[in-house]
């Protein structure tokens, strides 16, 4: 049986592994955690999740493809509750970019998860210049919010991890914007 001190030490190591960005993609793969923490890494992560809860953070497991094995999943730490608009802007996002991301994710989700890039650009062009739409979409694809397969655009792994898509669609349909942000 592991001592409390040992579990704390492993949880600390897990948090460092997840938070420290070593590649372009944030987070860490399950197999990397297994290698560092041992085969019971999922229970260590549950313990860490409980600890992070009091700081408004949570551990999430995201599958990037069709796999269902936790070793292949990506583990990330996200903010637990919604953030404020001012916080998003101070994190380096422009309102226009957030609007493009919101419109893209909502539109793609309403179309069963994939649309042709031509259709998406055509929709966004109604509000933004084409060069800005294309540049922002490229950035969103690079950072994992959207995925591109030839001329089809899909919702990326990062959007699945960070965005409550059903809530986004519900808010857009209800047009109930009171008390948001």
């Amino acid at each position: 049986m592991k001592s409390r001190k040992d579990i704390d030490e492993r949880a600390r190591r897990a948090l460092q592994l997840i938070l420290l960005q070593r590649h372009r993609k944030p987070g860490v793969k399950g197999w990397e955690l297994r290698r560092s923490l041992g085969k019971n890494y999922l229970s260590i992560l549950e313990y860490l999740n409980d600890k992070l809860d009091s700081y408004g953070l949570c551990v999430k497991m995201v599958y990037e493809g069709e796999e269902t094995n936790p070793d292949q999943a990506r583990f990330i730490v996200t903010v637990k509750d919604d953030i404020k608009m001012s916080e998003a802007i101070s994190a380096g996002w422009r309102i226009d970019e957030l609007a493009i991301l919101a419109a893209s994710v909502a539109y793609i989700a309403s179309r069963q998860g994939s649309v042709s890039s031509r259709e998406l650009i055509h929709l966004l062009e109604a509000k933004f210049p084409r060069w800005f739409v294309e540049a922002t979409l490229r950035r969103l694809i690079r950072s994992g919010y959207l995925e591109q397969d030839r001329d089809t655009i899909m919702i990326g792994w990062r959007s699945k991890a960070e965005i409550d898509i059903s809530k986004l669609l519900e808010l857009l349909v209800r047009m109930d914007f009171e008390g948001i942000g």
Binding site: L20, A99, A126, D164, L171
Partner: protein, 259 residues
């Protein structure tokens, strides 16, 4: 086995099958309503087509159509599940909402559904150690750039005769060679009834001549001076007169030592 010529009726059924494949692909690609495709009547068309199918190409086309129809049925299943799920919202409604509300409101809605990833981009002590070690070992730029021996940038000149001997330039003008091979091909096409096997045309006394001829033929085909077709029944390429109906595509053909 006597190969029958495709009748007008069979050709029209074949076109219909190709149309079914294209429709299925387009529907899946665009994420459109898969129930727009009438799977039952499409299967009827395929049944008729299969009865008259006589070549391997026909059977492959039938298999491709069946595969595409099965993906449509799979998509119909997903479509029903999606429509009955909590995520289903009419795309037209979402589109109109996106267009009607301001960017600021859209961003505010988004932020209220967004829980961004927390990550730290920082230097660690081991990486700083590694950087210091690299810096200390790095030689001054002058000593690193001075490794090439002086005078290595000496210019070399070649006379046209030498270049020709080395095979870097042709001793005959390229257009003359093209015209010559084009004339040969046209004569062969006239005598062989409008179709000559590719390997006969590019055959040469050695490999270099075969490659040269293949290069010239590829130039003639690309520029539309002659045409080229592939016959799956003989698994061979044929040179034909150019036709406007040819669909442009890129193909790779290997040339053996014997041409």
């Amino acid at each position: 086995m006597v190969k029958s010529k495709p009748t007008l009726k069979r050709r029209s059924v074949r076109r219909e099958v190709e149309k079914i494949i294209a429709q299925c692909r387009l529907t899946i690609k665009r994420g459109a309503d898969p129930f727009q495709i009438d799977v039952k009547s499409s299967l009827g068309v395929l049944r008729n087509f299969l009865k008259s199918a006589s070549t391997l190409d026909d059977i492959c086309l039938d298999g491709e159509a069946i595969y595409n129809l099965s993906t449509v049925v799979e998509s119909q299943d997903r479509w029903v599940k999606f429509r009955s799920s909590r995520l289903f919202v009419d795309p037209i409604l979402i589109e109109s909402r996106i267009k009607s509300i301001s960017n600021k409101v859209l961003a505010r809605i988004f932020v209220s559904c967004w829980t961004p990833i927390a990550s730290i981009e920082t230097l660690t002590i081991p990486s700083i150690d590694l950087a210091i070690d690299y810096w200390n070992r790095l030689k001054p730029i002058k000593s690193r750039w001075g490794r090439l021996p002086k005078g290595s940038m000496k210019h070399l000149t070649l006379s046209p005769d030498e270049a020709s001997r080395l095979g870097l330039i042709y001793d005959r003008r390229f257009e003359e060679q093209l015209s010559s091979i084009e004339e040969q091909i046209r004569k062969l096409l006239a005598s062989e009834g409008g179709r000559v096997e590719y390997s006969i045309i590019v055959r040469g006394k050695d490999w270099i001549e075969a490659v040269t001829k293949a290069y010239l033929v590829s130039f003639l085909v690309s520029s539309g001076r002659i045409g080229m077709t592939y016959d799956p029944s003989t698994d061979k390429f044929y040179i034909t007169p150019y036709s406007n109906y040819d669909k442009p595509k890129s193909i790779a053909i290997s040339i053996g030592i014997g041409g």
